[in-house]
Symmetry: C2
Subunit: 420 residues, 2 copies
């Protein structure tokens, strides 16, 4: 086995006669278990008496020949170095025995990640992003970064945070939409992992005012189906990657994640309306589905065996100006991807024809002058293209069966939280 050096924090300490058992939360999701025997290592035993929960330490040790702890790998220590001791008793239980309220968990997330359950979530978040990048690398997408300080919002003014940019008014970017589209004039496939800023006043279990997204745009598509396929492949890749690389974390979380069955169901918006109406809901044919309707639809789809499903063909009256419309002018190539009743991604085929795009802007009551920098990109050989934005926290929330999207992000920005 050899000697290992492991650093972390004491999350549990137990004395049984002349034995001290110390659990150290380190990089792996399961704690390292140090067994100190007065007889075997009297000096370390003495040190063990003096240190308590919250202490930051590194130890050198080797795996115990006999592994008796179900909670983690047991070590026989050769050396222990204390790096820091708490100056106050910990305000939360980092072992997770005392359940904390969500509010407390959000406030002390940086401390609670010592708890294997909290840590597991963020190890899997890391995996999710690694998986996504691996997928993009293998499929010829180039990573780009687009500006977060913008002169115009992709989705209109109501949900924009305003910012003073020297002499000018500016906004925080709601999505890379306009910029990733412009890049379709020079790259065939791009992606970005990016913060989204939305000044929505919602206070729900599924909304954040600053969240992270995986944004994709691909050119030279033949139909919106090419984009659906990319998203379906990406989600499948991510889930399979986590299933393969995060067995311990999934186990600790009690998550029942499984490989999704493909192809994901493509449900027409109008079909969704019909289904929901047949359940007695009042549903508009020209508006986006409400959170409640999405949730209800999730239950119905679950009953039919669908966990992940696309809703395709949203009505023009409900979408952003940049979606391509069908010939009839009523429906568009916009889709959502829902995961058990939660919208986790939104995308579609875009309007790439300059004249039609200009008319669409006007029809939506927007001033083309504010979008001239964007429109310019459609004049010089803009191929048919489409893409999507996928919410990292929402995907993680569903994969791990979390109750609140706030559990999936380290620092929460919502209607009432600006710190920590």
């Amino acid at each position: 086995m050899g000697l290992k050096r492991i650093c972390g924090w004491i999350i549990r300490k137990k004395s049984i006669g002349r034995i001290i058992i110390i659990e150290v939360s380190s990089d792996s999701v399961k704690p390292s278990v140090l067994v100190l025997k007065e007889e075997r290592e009297p000096e370390l035993f003495k040190l063990g008496m003096e240190i308590d929960i919250g202490t930051a330490l590194c130890f050198e040790g080797e795996e115990a020949p006999e592994q008796r702890s179900a909670r983690g790998v047991e070590y026989i220590a050769r050396k222990i170095e204390v790096y820091a001791k708490p100056i106050e008793p910990l305000p939360v239980d980092t072992m997770g025995k005392v359940p904390a309220l969500l509010d407390t968990r959000i406030k002390y997330r940086w401390l609670l990640v010592r708890n294997p359950v909290e840590k597991a979530i963020f190890i899997i978040r890391n995996s999710l992003l690694n998986a996504a990048r691996e997928y993009f690398s293998k499929n010829g997408f180039i990573e780009v970064q687009t500006p977060k300080i913008v002169a115009a919002g992709a989705e209109g003014g109501a949900t924009l945070f305003k910012i003073q940019y020297f002499e000018n008014d500016a906004y925080l970017s709601q999505s890379p939409q306009l910029f990733k589209q412009m890049l379709m004039a020079g790259f065939t496939r791009v992606y970005e992992i990016t913060p989204y800023f939305r000044a929505e006043k919602y206070n729900t279990t599924r909304h954040l005012n600053e969240s992270w997204g995986i944004d994709v745009e691909q050119g030279f598509i033949n139909s919106v189906e090419d984009v659906l396929q990319t998203l379906e492949n990406l989600i499948t890749y991510i889930i399979e990657y986590v299933l393969k690389n995060n067995k311990e974390e999934l186990e600790i979380l009690g998550a029942t994640l499984k490989k999704p069955s493909t192809p994901f169901k493509r449900l027409k918006f109008q079909e969704a309306v019909d289904i929901l109406r047949s359940e007695g809901l009042e549903i508009s044919e020209t508006e986006d589905l409400s959170d409640y309707a999405e949730k209800k639809l999730g239950e119905i789809m679950a009953g039919k065996g669908y966990e992940l499903y696309f809703i395709v063909g949203f009505p023009w009256a409900s979408t952003g100006f940049y979606y391509m419309r069908d010939e009839d002018g009523v429906y568009t190539r916009k889709f959502d991807l829902d995961y058990s009743g939660l919208e986790i991604a939104s995308g579609g085929q875009r309007e790439h024809r300059y004249e039609k795009l200009l008319n669409a802007l006007k029809e939506k009551g927007l001033n083309p002058e504010n979008f001239s920098f964007y429109l310019e990109a459609f004049k010089y050989g803009m191929p048919p293209h489409g893409g999507f934005g996928l919410g990292v926290e929402r995907l993680l929330m569903r994969m791990l069966n979390l109750e609140n999207v706030r559990e999936a992000i380290l620092f929460v920005r919502d209607r009432t939280r600006l710190v920590p």
Copy 2:
């Protein structure tokens, strides 16, 4: 060889009698060269007559048995599909024969990336980030995301963009500094790839108001040397990765990148001051080096054979409040990494002891109440830690010998640019 399908834009077209040569800019940095012969493929030749520079197309073809073009791989086309044609003549030369002013290049970057020289920069930018992530994965760092909307700035008020966050005043994050430090209470090594927002009024070749950084923090360090080593290893890893994976791009850019010699020189701040004074410059012993001084130092260091060098031990009077001070109270564990006279990274060992940190805040004239969410994290076993922020654009600028940092980012946000 078999049939390949390649999509892109025509950047060059030449007719020689009954032969048309079309260069298509696609995903690879070198264009694909289509040779259409009237005799061999009369239908495609006819189509070739009708399409011009800027056309977006896909072709299917096989590599020509005889490769005669020095500019790219030559193909014999079997099929050509036109996806879009320009509706106006292109405002810039995407082949790069007509040199464009920087202002024009920034305005039309999304179009000019069809030009192999511009495209090469962003392919290498993608590689740089891939390399960094690969390094972090191999070395036990977990990727995190910290908030960009914050209640307090890490570096004080003068360079903060203000934002209205519902009922509260808030700011755009200058750096993840405070948050990545808080995470040292629960993770041993973190990194983030993140936008930086700085309301600096500079208008120089080295400043952007929105730039991207690779931010690192690592705990359980024994001295600042551990952090220097991480940064040195990271830079070396990135450069070797690009040397290995981007030969064609480097060649097209005429970049003379080479493997840096290690260890990077560790130059004490006071030594730097002495060197610069001996050259006749007036240098303060308590202030950060000016851009001019950094540049001058770069020339001197180049003469001694140092391209990459650390400046270590900045005086307390010149640094942020969070750096650990030496016993003497005059100097700190803050360092910069300079690359040929340009500061590309800044970091150091932090003060992890609660009382000392509190005093440091006060001494810098900051109100501890504004930082209470941050101070809290230092009470419960905060190990010694340190880290750095590395500017992506500045590193890329030096690696590729670009003249202006604006050449290294797709969309520029500076003193005068808010669009595109």
